[in-house]
Symmetry: C2
Subunit: 137 residues, 2 copies
DNA sequence: CGGTATCCTCTTTGATACTG
DNA sequence: CAGTATCAAAGAGGATACCG
């Protein structure tokens, strides 16, 4: 029992190690479009076109690419209704639902603390400008 | 009261809009190195070299760049002790601490569910391979 | 409608060398 | 130790055209 060529982990995953597979899924989650797609799907299934309109600024290519990755990783399901024109619905899987909560937290934080961040940026930028040419008089 | 050229928000931030500044912070947070840096700093201040060793695979350039961004956005403080050789410590600000919790959740999820994701990938890849050449016999 | 395929650009990142 | 600067390589992403 216990072949050594089993790439699965049994309690030792560490995303801080470059070679650990958990780093791969972290890369998928730590992505702007992943955050927004999963957040959008938290409210229930959505069609391709609905998602594209909801995610302002996303291109068709990026949306398709993001959805394919999420489907492959088992976070969303893709259901095709062979009507004319075609109807394709995306939905979070059970595994994906547990992610949407985390994504929602990040997005909510961003929206809630944007002003504090913008203020910090102003302060930082003003300081940086002063250091280049300190007031000498 | 209330000049119209105030770029700050007062309750209407929406990261789904490309032009909304909250999208910018989302971009900063939705980043592999940001996740790991903030996670590392959740345990207290760390020196530059410590962070570099902790974040396996990061280059000096990327670590510096990530830390500068986080400092500018008010999530991290940078303290220089003018000794020889120099000693520089990074620590999460109060604002940053509220982020580390979220980052920790994402990283923990990645480590806990990596096996489920790897299984999903296997299934997906096998299906994709079969579709190209279905078993006809 | 919901894609795929191609080309092309622009940003991100890595590698390397040098500095207070 | 903790950076900065520079150049080259890589890859992400956008625009466009076409398909079932």
């Amino acid at each position: 029992m216990g072949t050594t060529d089993d790439l699965r982990f049994h309690g030792g995953a560490d995303a801080y190690l470059a070679a650990c597979p958990s780093r791969q899924i972290l890369d998928v989650l730590a992505n702007k479009w992943t955050m927004l797609v999963m957040g959008a799907l938290s409210g229930g299934p959505m069609r391709f076109g609905e998602l594209r309109r909801r995610l302002d600024g996303i291109t068709q290519k990026m949306l398709t690419q993001t959805l394919r990755t999420l489907e492959r990783d088992g976070l969303v399901t893709r259901t095709v209704y062979p009507t004319i024109p075609p109807r394709v619905e995306y939905a979070a899987t059970e595994l994906g639902e547990s992610v949407t909560t985390l994504m929602h937290g990040i997005r909510t934080w961003s929206e809630a603390n944007i002003n504090a961040v913008l203020d910090a940026r102003d302060t930082y930028d003003v300081r940086a400008a002063q250091e280049v040419r300190p007031v000498t008089a």
